[in-house]
């Protein structure tokens, strides 16, 4: 594939590292696909996979944001509420008759502001992000109902609806958005100084500080990223539901955390990739979709999903112990 031996061996070792890193979860994903395609002949179809990707989109995008946060050794439990706030802000701006673009911009800005609040409380008041975002999860969820008094907002713009309903070049727009956001997040994490600083800060905050990295600024920026990603998820969700529901995105933070952790992001910080998170989100999506097709009752789905996460984390910890 290349003409010099050095780049070839570099390429090989890179490939080997990739295989070693993702072999476990890719196998898990394949195993799930095989199980579901055996038990249900409609599972293995292009239409169903398009469907899975669309369902995964909301979780995957929120999980990209969550990956940044967990990578830093923090957690953001408020994203489910931000998803709902985003839908509501969009619906309200549209209701004012300002049109699609201002609605889009203001929705994303709302996500950024809520993330900014999380980040500032965590960084400047030195509160644990777990506590801060447990609190803001509740606060933001309450904010959703302010404009409508708890009722869903139905006033939606046709372009807003089109995001969830239309296709572009044969692929649903939602999938395009996931692909683009995956690439942006992946490149930002793997190839920019910002991504490097995130890894270093998560790996050892004090050493990062001594190396001239502004770890407070990193925290704030990354909570803002998480907020914006959640806002995008909220736009997609409200678009697919043709409305902004006050209970939208409920417990999505758990799926996002699960996707990131399944993908190998370490809750201790400093370790994780967007590729892993994408695969993790697909596992969760396939699991949801397959069990729905088999008409597995919702409560069994919850049990199975929880067990899968436990097993994945246990395997991960065990493989690390063996290396160490």
């Amino acid at each position: 594939m290349t003409d010099t031996t050095t780049t070839e061996t570099a390429g090989h070792s890179y490939l080997r590292a990739m295989i070693r890193q993702y072999a476990g979860i890719v196998l898990a994903l394949l195993a799930l696909c095989i199980i579901f395609s055996v038990t249900n002949d409609r599972f293995l179809s292009l239409a169903n996979f398009t469907n899975i990707f669309q369902q995964v989109a909301v979780i995957a995008i929120a999980a990209f944001g969550m990956t940044w946060v967990i990578l830093l050794g923090e957690i953001d439990l408020s994203i489910g509420s931000i998803i709902a706030v985003a839908g509501m802000v969009g619906a309200q701006v549209i209701g004012l008759g300002w049109g699609f673009v201002p609605a889009l911009v203001l929705t994303l800005a709302a996500g950024a502001v809520l993330g900014l609040f999380n980040g500032t409380m965590t960084a400047k008041l030195m509160l644990p992000s777990f506590i801060v975002t447990v609190a803001t999860m509740s606060i933001y969820r309450g904010l959703v109902s302010l404009p409508t008094g708890g009722a869903p907002a139905m006033n939606m713009d046709p372009t807003w609806i089109a995001i969830g309903a239309n296709s572009f070049l044969g692929l649903p727009i939602i999938i395009w958005i996931v692909v683009v956001l995956f690439l942006v997040n992946h490149i930002a994490l793997a190839h920019t100084t910002f991504g490097r600083k995130a890894y270093l800060t998560g790996g050892n905050r004090e050493a990062a500080l001594y190396s001239g990295i502004n770890v407070d600024a990193m925290k704030i920026k990354i909570f803002m990223i998480s907020g914006v990603m959640a806002a995008v998820s909220g736009i997609l969700l409200s678009s697919r539901l043709y409305s902004a529901q006050t209970n939208a995105g409920m417990s999505y933070e758990l799926d996002a955390i699960a996707a990131a952790v399944l993908g190998g992001t370490s809750l201790a910080g400093g370790v994780g990739t967007m590729v892993g998170t994408l695969i993790g989100a697909l596992i969760i999506g396939v699991l949801n979709n397959g069990m729905n097709m088999l008409s597995v009752p919702y409560f069994y789905q919850l049990i199975v999903k929880g067990l899968v996460i436990l097993i994945a984390v246990w395997l991960d910890v065990r493989s690390k112990q063996r290396q160490g």
Binding site: T193, R196, A207, Y210, G212
Partner: protein, 502 residues
């Protein structure tokens, strides 16, 4: 000799980590009532061997007997129960707990299932007093200096009874007077008929303490000799496989023309309860040694210069202009580099590879428009590995798996990569072997000759006197004196450092 009974016996011990061979073939015979030193270069496998004895790691192959019985501990508890005590090389304390809680961790005295605080403190205090360690058992570990933490580590290691006591580089961050306390403890252990295994890179103390010395090279047993039958030179030759005639490289002429305004000038720097009225100047190409005992405030001053511990009053000037440094980022922008004393906490990201660690303080140099440039980054990491002789599988090796001395070299590499104009070195050769020390000294001299202004804190007096142009001696947070090196003798430095001179 009557005390010649063998306590611990190892044959053909081998340990591999995947493809990496840490110990190839190790033999060792340790006798009661004797100090047995293990000597070897950084990465030779000394700590790995001790971790096997301590039940932290299992050997891949080999036989070990303790007191004639087969010994293969699978946990530290098992090793301790069999009569083995260890003071680890890497500090393993819980920073948010007190000294007492750390010393008696896992062995806390309980009353009806609850930890009895009063008994805990009393027991810890008794132990510390018996060992003669200057420690406040109620202090939080986070508030202690590295040297004090090392003393806590020693107390922790000796908190239970043992037949064999292992010290893995216990003196690497201690100054002479604290080391003396340790030596007295070791003498006592020997008088009680215990066997001591000792690891250090300080040749003088090895010659003073040891009865037997075993040399290891590349994970392989080389020889065991009695102290009286050997010399430092012979030991070094065995250890590195060649002769070394000099410990300090020659002073080089300053190439860059030094201007008369000092690069760094500090006056009246004060921080409550840390240091008071610290003043000094540092010129380009000069090496200013800073010496002081534990608690003298030397590391605190360095942290203040680096923006990590803001001073209450005082003035810092760089190139004649006053500067306010309130963060490490500002210090780095001013051209200051800081090789910190505590490599595990302030120096390295242990879970990451060597490459990102080397470049982490100089990301701007290895990026363009916000994107990392992997070519220059890799080249820099490879260059530093070669220059400092870092023993590692590749530049992607996780730094946490490197040996202690090699980790230290990575910290140094990280700050060399920033190309500082003012380089602060806090214990730069902590845990580094004799050969590598020479290389580091040579690099320090070279930097000075290129015009870098160097502030070097060291608790090793010979190092300070061997390398510095001038020496600033600190005692109890104040500058006792600053004098050219050739006017100082070790005795004079110690009288200033202990505050016996007014």
């Amino acid at each position: 000799m009557e005390h010649c009974d063998v306590v611990l016996h190892l044959t053909g011990v081998r340990k591999t980590f995947g493809p990496i061979v840490a110990l190839r073939h190790m033999d060792l015979t340790v006798r009661a009532g004797r100090v047995h030193t293990i000597l070897g270069e950084n990465g030779a496998g000394k700590s790995t061997l001790m971790k096997i004895l301590a039940g932290v790691q299992l050997p891949t192959e080999g036989d070990i007997t303790l007191g004639g019985k087969d010994f293969r501990p699978r946990t530290p508890q098992e090793a301790a129960a069999a009569g083995l005590a260890i003071v680890f090389q890497e500090l393993s304390l819980c920073n948010n707990l007190t000294v007492a809680e750390n010393i008696l961790a896992t062995r806390e005295p309980t009353r009806m299932g609850f930890i009895s605080d009063r008994k805990l403190v009393a027991q810890a205090r008794a132990l510390v007093a018996e060992l003669g360690l200057p420690l406040d058992v109620n202090a939080r570990v986070a508030d202690l200096s590295i040297a004090q933490r090392q003393l806590v580590e020693i107390a922790k290691g000796l908190s239970h009874d043992a037949r064999v006591v292992i010290f893995d580089e216990p003196t690497s961050s201690l100054s002479d007077s604290e080391a003396e306390i340790l030596f007295r403890i070791i003498d006592k252990l020997i008088a009680q008929g215990k066997a001591v295994i000792y690891i250090s890179h300080r040749m003088e103390e090895i010659m003073r303490l040891s009865d037997d010395i075993t040399v290891v090279r590349d994970g392989e047993y080389v020889a065991t000799v009695e102290k009286d039958d050997t010399t430092i030179d012979a030991l070094i030759a065995m250890m590195v496989g060649r002769r070394m005639d000099e410990i300090y490289p020659p002073r080089l002429d300053v190439v860059a023309s030094p201007s008369d305004t000092p690069v760094l000038s500090v006056s009246g720097l004060t921080r409550k309860d840390a240091f008071e009225d610290v003043s000094f100047v540092l010129k380009a190409g000069e090496i200013l040694g800073v010496f002081g005992l534990v608690g003298s405030g030397r590391s605190e001053v360095m942290n203040a210069l680096f923006g990590m511990l803001p001073p209450d009053t005082g003035r810092i000037e760089i190139d004649g202009a006053e500067v306010r440094i309130t963060s490490a980022a500002q210090a780095i922008t001013q051209g200051i580099g800081f090789v910190t004393e505590n490599r595990k906490e302030q120096g390295l990201v242990l879970s990451h590879g060597l490459r990102p660690n080397v470049t982490m303080a100089a990301l701007d140099r290895f990026s363009g428009r916000g994107f990392m440039r992997s070519g220059p980054e890799r080249a820099a990491a490879e260059g530093e590995v070669k220059r400092l002789g870092i023993r590692t599988g590749s530049i992607e090796t996780v730094t946490g798996t490197l040996s202690g001395g090699n980790q230290q070299k990575v910290v140094l590499a990280k700050w060399l990569a920033t190309r500082p104009r003012i380089l602060i070195l806090d214990e730069p050769t902590r845990g580094v072997d004799v050969g590598a020390k020479f290389e580091i000294y040579r690099i320090i001299r070279e930097l000075a000759s290129e015009g870098t202004a160097i502030l070097m804190v060291s608790s090793e007096l010979p190092e300070v006197l061997g390398l510095a142009d001038r020496v600033m001696i600190m005692s109890e947070g104040r500058v006792a004196t600053t004098a050219p090196r050739d006017t100082l003798t070790p005795e004079r430095v110690m009288t200033f450092a202990t505050g016996h001179v007014q």
